[in-house]
Symmetry: C2
Subunit: 126 residues, 2 copies
């Protein structure tokens, strides 16, 4: 578990952003949104806080294929993600629909899985 011993304006600003979004956010989005609250907010600070918040179990890092890492609140229950090939944004999708038993090779042990859907989001379809 991380230190997280002091609450700063910067960290508070970053955490607040995740209360106002329903989709995972990338580093640059977080930086831009955070600067609306703390104008001096630095990239390195964002990286450091994201790392701490992940270690602390408050955030979850998602490595969606192709785009960089995105972050969402941890503890949301089992779900997967949709990635728009037009705007590159990631969206949360509910449910799972995967039969895990299928395909695990003999002798292998499957512990978890991730499903990514790719396509066009509703905003980009219009």
């Amino acid at each position: 578990m991380a230190q997280m011993k002091r609450m700063t304006n910067q960290r508070h600003a970053i955490q607040e952003i995740f209360g106002k979004t329903d989709r995972p956010l990338g580093v640059e989005e977080i930086l831009q949104a955070g600067r609306k609250t703390v104008r001096s907010l630095n990239q390195a600070t964002v990286y450091r806080n994201l790392k701490l918040l992940v270690e602390d179990g408050w955030l979850k890092k998602i490595d969606a294929p192709g785009v960089g890492p995105v972050y969402e609140r941890a503890g949301k229950g089992h779900h997967h993600h949709f990635q728009c090939r037009s705007c590159d944004r990631i969206f949360e999708i509910s449910g799972c629909g995967l039969n895990e038993r299928i395909g695990t090779p003999p002798g292998f042990l499957t512990e978890r899985h991730e499903v990514y859907l790719f396509g066009i989001c509703s905003a980009c379809r219009e």
Copy 2:
């Protein structure tokens, strides 16, 4: 489509590697394996040829979460991948196991999907 106008020892060495493996390979693995045939093989050459072979439709690039990109022969039919958290190697798994009608949000259009299983491969379990 790419140029690919001349066959070089370097490119031939890289292509040959994919005839001898049953799992997707990363850049470093390809470089090391290729140097067994062409000792002067350079990283930049590997990157350039991988890009050309993907554009040419001979290879497929897979962005597995967490590890860097890996490459496999194209045209293998619909399948997904297993990633070992011990050795980080990626394995091909047959079949799909995904219920197609899962969770695409209203207004979204799903065009394709990827499934990643994570766990321990048989070699690492021993």
